[in-house]
């Protein structure tokens, strides 16, 4: 307790101080927001990487990923070889009116076919338009930013660590299968 009216004066001082400072309002439509690299805006599909394994569709808590496919038989590449079957993607769609942006599909994808893009301006007047088919999902790939660099002092990326190990201690016998050395 102090002088009577100290609380009132304190409140007035606070508001006045706030008034003299810059306000933190984002001028969104005029100035596009400065989003962090891992922003979850929309999900992009890199079709070439998709093997129609259906893991994303199964892991999706909302069941908002629709995948149709058929099997194709490829003729044997060598004489007397076996024919191979391959999954061909017919439809890949994400219903963004159901999606809750949890990102589990992206985590679940073993082949790096799904990516987060920070784009968020895809509102529609008709809710059915929010189902993005594969061509639309593929378009988002252009907006996917390159992966941000690792934090200083962070553990090395797995593939680089494995490659370094292979160079430092050459394998005594046979091949060592480098994990994802292609990257």
């Amino acid at each position: 307790m102090g002088l009577p009216g100290r609380g009132l004066a304190g409140g007035l001082a606070t508001t006045f101080r706030t008034m003299t400072r810059r306000s933190i309002t984002q001028q969104y439509p005029d100035v596009s927001p400065d989003l962090p690299p891992r922003t979850r805006g929309v999900i992009a599909l890199l079709e070439e990487n998709c093997t129609v394994c259906m893991l994303c569709a199964r892991e999706c808590p909302d069941w908002c990923i629709y995948i149709d496919s058929h099997k194709e038989t490829l003729p044997a590449t060598t004489e007397g070889g076996r024919e191979r079957t391959r999954n061909v993607l017919d439809r890949f769609a994400i219903d963004f009116s159901l999606c809750m942006y949890c990102g589990i599909c992206i985590e679940a994808c073993p082949f790096d076919a799904l990516f987060w893009s920070p784009e968020f301006e895809y509102a529609e007047l008709d809710i059915r338009e929010l189902v993005h088919e594969r061509d639309r999902l593929a378009l988002w790939m252009d907006t996917v930013p390159p992966p941000p660099p690792l934090d200083p002092g962070a553990e090395e990326a797995k593939e680089i660590a494995a490659a370094r190990k292979a160079v430092a201690a050459p394998a005594p016998t046979g091949d060592r299968h480098g994990e994802g050395a292609a990257r």
Binding site: G11, L12, T15, F16, M19, S23, T25, Q27
Partner: protein, 318 residues
């Protein structure tokens, strides 16, 4: 005073009456926004949303004028006019510069206080005629508030009138000296607080407490009539600012630049008081109904009487 002169004054008065409340409203929009670390309206009119209230006015004019089925039609329709007109009359009596009032009255201060008290009847009529229990509650609160705060308001004004030895508003400004700021300080504070309560402005906005009774007496109003009530509120702020200026802050007097620019000082002081009113609204929480009555009767009335005594003693001794 020729007819032409009077006509010019009336036109000026009407312009002030329509423009100044909008200015205060815009100051409120912007000051309140920045006090809350926002920007407020930014688009209407181009530059920092200066035309927001004009746009609001156009919007209000387009809206349907709803009359509740169970309402009392005549009383419901008349109420906004009755709430607004007293402030117009009061504004006409404010001397903005030496001899520059639209109408001058011998007992100006009395006239002003009397007319200001009428505005409440508009609110009470609105609340009753709306056929809505929240409206009636709001009207009851407004009436109770006015009845309590009229007394300290009149007493504080009486103290200045005693000090100046006149009841006319220009007379009070003529008699005003800078040291009155200290002498009449309690009176000024009481006047301002009681005036805020009469206008139902925060922190005394129980009559329109939105979390309890929606919008009090004005709940059922829409369109132009609602706009009139809003205009009345902001005109009330202008009038309160102008009255405080004339009674306690020396009106058009200032250490320099007095000559023909007296009206400018009146305007500056009025807007400063209006800013204070807005600032208080942003900063302070709403009082409870019993706290409000306690403040009026246990603090303001005794303080006003003490101020009256001090004024009397200084007058007799000096």
């Amino acid at each position: 005073m020729s007819v032409l002169d009077l006509l010019l004054r009336l036109v000026l008065l009407l312009a002030c009456f329509l423009v100044l409340p909008l200015v205060v409203g815009q100051i409120e929009h912007k000051a309140m926004a920045h006090m809350q670390s926002r920007l407020g309206p930014m688009y209407a009119g181009g530059f920092h949303g200066w035309a927001q209230l004009v746009a609001d006015g156009v919007k209000f004019a387009q809206k349907e004028d709803v009359l509740p089925a169970a309402a009392d039609p005549w009383v419901f329709r008349l109420a906004p006019a009755l709430a607004l007109l007293p402030y117009l009359v009061v504004l006409a009596l404010i001397p903005v510069g030496a001899g520059q009032a639209v109408v001058s009255a011998d007992v100006g201060i009395f006239l002003v206080l009397a007319v200001m008290g009428i505005g409440i009847i508009g609110t009470v009529m609105a609340g009753w005629a709306s056929a809505n229990k929240f409206s009636v509650l709001g009207a009851l609160r407004a009436a109770a508030q006015l009845l309590s705060y009229e007394l300290p308001l009149v007493l504080a004004a009486a103290s200045v009138a005693m000090a100046a030895g006149t009841l006319s508003l220009p007379g009070i400004v003529e008699a005003w000296r800078p040291w009155w700021l200290l002498w009449q300080l309690p009176g000024a504070l009481i006047f301002l607080v009681a005036g805020l309560a009469e206008l139902s402005r925060s922190p005394f906005d129980m009559p329109v407490a939105e979390s309890e009774i929606i919008f009090g007496a004005y709940t059922e109003y829409a369109g132009l009539r609602f706009a009139l009530f809003l205009l009345a509120e902001y005109a009330g702020i202008v009038v309160l600012g102008a009255l405080t200026t004339v009674l306690f802050l020396g009106g058009w007097k200032w250490p320099f630049l007095v000559g023909g620019l007296g009206w400018l000082w009146t305007l500056v002081k009025t807007l400063a008081v209006a800013f204070l009113v807005i600032w208080l609204r942003v900063s302070l929480p709403r009082l409870r109904e019993d706290q409000l009555q306690r403040l009026a009767w246990a603090w303001l009335v005794p303080l006003a009487l003490v101020q009256l005594m001090i004024t009397g003693v200084v007058r007799v001794m000096g």
